[in-house]
């Protein structure tokens, strides 16, 4: 499959507004659009095999269970995990990280223990640890972000000397587009005796992921940012770790035997999947993985890099525009910027009148905005369905902003 005819696969992207403009969606870092095959996979489940999983004896229940478990295997292969029992379905990245903090964290972290995060984390990889800091008295330290948007790795080395128990960093910043050298960072963390958790919410949609090559102990991501539906995400964890962790939510499916006053837990991965899961969404996620595989993650990365380079080059020509984040080297496709004469809300509003969707605000990363002394930024983020023409439309829209406000 080539990237040239991709637009026809995404019904939403073929919408035309009253002025004859096609929807220009530049907010995939917030959530991605869904191809027809994903929507259809979920429809198919509801229309033909809707039944609860892991319990029905009848035919459609078996088909539903089979489809659900097939998705798990597709996801396992997609991130190159060693076993399907290491793939836990959650609601999203946020829930995945909360799962780790609430099970591994509560069991293994004592008062005074250190957790290392970075200044560029979005709230999903910040608040669960803050809650643990409040409840259990653990300490948090942060790898600083340099002015050019990269992590200060010298400082990271120093922090590792403080004997942290776990290092939790984003594989790709949703604001800066920074892609930290997580493989090397994991090596360093392990040498220091710490576990390594990757917040893969932005990384998994945009580049090839091999959790064994990275040697990540945990890897969390969401379906909806990678062509899949909302309400479903993944926690990958190394099997031995997951085995050693207490359960998260209690209820059906996560149990083996239940007595009035006690229970035994089910095997992995079901131990962490309490209650009826998001079955249709899991199946839709499987279809999204199929679609990404057909296009190829390398092709997607290459396409995004081309668009991102062009966008950065053209954005830098807009008067008064400042990009927050790296402007060269390998980076993600989220490009955040400020205009010294217009507030991000106004920028987004004016672009909206051109049927262009961008994000304005702090993008769920308030401390990072504080770090760069800006209350908010405007962010354009690109995915496999975006085109160079759309970058031109963005620039034309920004010229309109300059005309009104500059």
């Amino acid at each position: 499959m080539s990237l040239s005819n991709i637009l026809q696969d995404f019904p939403i992207l073929n919408q035309i507004d009253k002025n004859g403009k096609r929807l220009c969606f530049l907010d995939s870092a917030a959530t991605s659009q869904k191809p027809e095959t994903v929507i259809e996979a979920m429809n198919h489940y509801y229309r033909t095999i809707n039944a609860n999983i892991h319990r029905g004896i009848y035919q459609i229940a078996e088909e539903a269970t089979d489809a659900y478990e097939k998705s798990r295997k597709k996801i396992q292969k997609f991130i190159h995990a060693g076993s399907a029992s290491e793939i836990i379905f959650t609601r999203n990245t946020t829930e995945s990280i909360n799962l780790v903090a609430n099970t591994w964290g509560r069991k293994n972290l004592q008062k005074g223990d250190l957790v290392i995060l970075s200044e560029m984390e979005h709230h999903a990889n910040l608040i669960p640890w803050q809650i643990l800091a409040t409840n259990q008295g653990i300490n948090l330290e942060f790898i600083p972000v340099l002015e050019n948007g990269l992590l200060n790795l010298t400082e990271y080395k120093r922090l590792l000397g403080l004997q942290p128990k776990i290092v939790c960093v984003s594989g790709m910043s949703n604001v800066l587009g920074t892609v930290p050298p997580i493989k090397q960072m994991a090596v360093d963390a392990h040498k220091a005796g710490a576990l390594f958790l990757v917040d893969g919410a932005q990384m998994a949609p945009h580049m090839k992921v091999d959790v064994q090559d990275i040697d990540a102990d945990f890897f969390a991501f969401s379906a909806h940012k990678m062509l899949g539906p909302t309400g479903i995400g993944i926690l990958y964890g190394k099997e031995a770790l997951l085995e050693s962790m207490p359960p998260f939510l209690g209820g059906g499916d996560m149990i083996s035997k239940v007595y009035l006053r006690s229970f035994t837990t089910n095997d992995l991965p079901y131990k962490f999947e309490a209650g009826t899961p998001a079955i249709a969404e899991a199946i839709g996620f499987g279809a999204a993985i199929d679609y990404l595989n057909q296009v190829g993650m390398d092709a997607i990365s290459k396409h995004e890099m081309e668009i991102t380079r062009y966008a950065i080059q053209e954005l830098q020509k807009v008067p008064g525009l400042k990009i927050i984040g790296p402007t060269d080297g390998f980076r993600g496709s989220a490009v955040s910027f400020t205009l010294d004469y217009a507030h991000p809300h106004d920028v987004a509003q004016i672009l909206d009148s051109e049927f262009i969707c961008v994000r304005a605000g702090h993008h769920c990363a308030m401390p990072l905005h504080t770090r760069f002394s800006v209350p908010a930024t405007t962010r354009a983020s690109f995915y496999l369905y975006n085109t160079l023409d759309e970058v031109d439309r963005l620039i034309t829209g920004l010229e309109k902003v300059h005309h009104l406000f500059g």
Binding site: S353, G361, P375, L404, F405
Partner: protein, 128 residues
């Protein structure tokens, strides 16, 4: 949406007449819109009859929130504090010349009213 940025909004945003601080003042109050990081502080001077004799605002935010603050502050000078309590969302939209705004931008437009009322009711609480 294009006419959201009419002359009146852009004028009051780019060249606000009442931006600044009052020192001393009888009343000041600040608040923010956490979603977008807009921050607003309003300063009032009130005489013994409860009449606002001077007012200013300071802070940062989008064109809608800043223009709204300038227009609201302009409109309250000379009025009785008791009357300000009756100010409504519609009054602010009238000042801005909007019939309606989407739910997100409405928060920007109404930040000034929220701050103003927060300040006035704060004083009332202190007196009681």
């Amino acid at each position: 949406m294009d006419d959201m940025y009419r002359e009146i909004i852009l004028d009051h945003y780019k060249n606000p007449s009442y931006k600044g601080e009052l020192d001393p003042c009888d009343l000041s109050f600040e608040d923010e819109n956490p979603l977008c990081g807009d921050h607003l502080k309003i300063f009032l001077r009130v005489n013994e009859n409860g009449i606002v004799t001077d007012a200013r605002f300071n802070g940062h935010g989008c064109a809608i929130s800043q223009a709204s603050a300038d227009l609201v502050v302009e409109s309250i000078i000379g009025k009785n504090v008791e009357d300000l309590k009756k100010m409504t969302k519609e009054d602010v939209l009238d000042l801005l010349g909007f019939e309606d705004l989407g739910p997100v931008r409405l928060k920007c437009a109404l930040l000034s009213l929220k701050v103003l009322k927060g300040g006035i009711y704060g004083v009332k609480d202190a007196e009681e």
